[in-house]
Symmetry: none
Subunit: 180 residues, 4 copies
DNA sequence: GATGAATGAGGATTCATTCAT
DNA sequence: TATGAATGAATCCTCATTCAT
């Protein structure tokens, strides 16, 4: 899986093939197929592996934290996630969007949506009409801004987090200036 | 080009190949190659064709419109663009991000950035530290939200525009409630 | 035909195709096919056109000239022929050797062989066992040395002629030093 | 490589393609590409393989042999080489002359030229003005006469060798009758 | 379990030739 | 007669997957 990640980072989606991954991993293609049913299964596993720390961070958000604090933790988790390996993260975002990985993507998004939905129950949380849509859109905004930052090679985490936070608060029609 | 667009919409990136496009267009592969140097050149042209109406809309934004009005026009242009053929638009967004289409992408983004940068000169425009970054990030947010809307099959343009507008205003730390 | 010759000289056998020839000639492919049944017919005609001056020179060799003088004329004709357009000449030599142009080649060689065979009847001509073979071999030697000269970019006609003459005389077991 | 050789012999340059070679070899195209980067690389290897015995023979020419004896060995090596598989040899001669195989050709010719150049240092060797040119021209003559012999289906090695020897001696302005 | 050679379907591209205009 | 767009067979090459060792 790590070899697959490296190949994606180094040669992009076009250069990603089983032989390249096997070589990079220092094993034979045959061995690859012992552990992964096929090329897509390998990507699937990678997708899961990379999503894991983010999802774990979400689930570590303390249940009693007020909305704003929890939102910031969520944004930080996303930024952390995306800027750790920016190119890989962006590539996986796209791969996840492909038809073949629908299920994969849905389950990740579902877990994140669930967390975010629950956030909207908290004290001082904004009122929204359609909670799943709001959750999804907020995640989109966070992801878009972190991807763009990754692409630019941005390094300044805290400023990025603040900008994202402002956008999200705007989305919720909350006044940022009161909160951060 | 239209055949290429249809193939992308119907079969996705994986099903996109010269034979499929030729067949869909009702011509021979040979004919395809009379008009496009190669597979990528066809995508390039399609990219350009699809970006055109959006860019044209941007350039139609009246020079004297105040910032908020202009911003709304920009958002509307983007939403219009993206929801016309949502699947195609999302696919092209990804394709544009591939290394092979860097130049293409850069030129489109540059034109949009320029328009947005100029908007920031206008009366009542927010102050931002790094104008190119702000322009890029705002475009990212708009695109992310329209893509997500396209994916969900959202139809209600005006509500979508309003939500995007709120997020962007939040990003600029402007108070939406005063403006729209 | 001239366009075909130029294409061969400029792009070699690999770059030689009907479209290239038509473009070079400033006409349409369609027109090409009005004058030449197909690609090979065009080469055939070119082959003939290029062989012509050489064959004509052979036929101008005076009937009463003694062997040595006639042989020199023949060598000069060949050198002239080959060094006029060296690259083209070498390419055509090869093309002529292809199965598809057997007839063409045979007829050219036959005419040259005939002339050379008759030379061997003359006064002071060397005795050879197998006249057609001798004729063919002498032509081979002449052609090989002129081709090599063309490849090297050799310009000094008279020295080249002398070297070839020596080789041919050697082949006939004649003493050059007595004759030239 | 042997399959490639056979295809060339049986179907000529036009019939030479990767599928034909693979079929002839009784393997899949894929396997071909495991051993040869591409079509040309296969030809390159074949070129080298076929040149090898000739070059080896040249290098076996004893250092102390007098010029005439060494020259005969060289001619015999060439004749042997060319008459073993005449059609293949002629085809490879042409292929070697193509731009794409320049390097290949140069290295072969260089080794042969070197041997021949050294021969010209020996006792009783003829004096020549330009040694590299002389070497190249002698090789041309030998090759031309062996090629022609191959084309005719000539079988009589020793006579062929004698005729070539005479031509070469003539070229060097040496009197054959004194030597062989 | 590991290996990696073999497979061959799939896909991009070229180009000789035709034929409606 | 000239045109040149259209055709599609032919060809090169890649790569996911298998399986004998």
């Amino acid at each position: 899986m790590e070899a697959a990640a490296r190949v994606l980072e180094e040669k992009g989606l076009d250069g990603y093939n089983t032989n390249a991954v096997a070589e990079r991993a220092g094993v034979s293609v045959g061995s690859l197929y012992q552990y992964f049913r096929n090329k897509d299964a390998l990507l699937s596993s990678l997708l899961e592996r990379e999503a894991e720390p983010f999802l774990a961070a979400l689930e570590r958000i303390p249940g009693e934290a007020p909305f704003q604090a929890a939102l910031l933790l969520l944004i930080e988790a996303s930024v952390q996630q995306q800027l750790r390996r920016p190119k890989l993260a962006r590539l996986l975002d796209f791969i996840e969007a492909q038809a073949a990985f629908e299920d994969q993507a849905r389950s990740t998004v579902d877990r994140a949506q669930l967390v975010l939905s629950r956030l909207l129950d908290r004290e001082k949380a904004p009122k929204v009409e359609d909670r799943p849509t709001a959750a999804m859109e907020v995640l989109s905004v966070i992801r878009a801004l972190t991807d763009a930052a990754g692409e630019r090679g941005e390094q300044d985490y805290s400023r990025l987090v603040r900008r994202i936070h402002r956008a999200v608060c705007g989305y919720f029609a909350m006044d940022v200036r009161k909160t951060s």
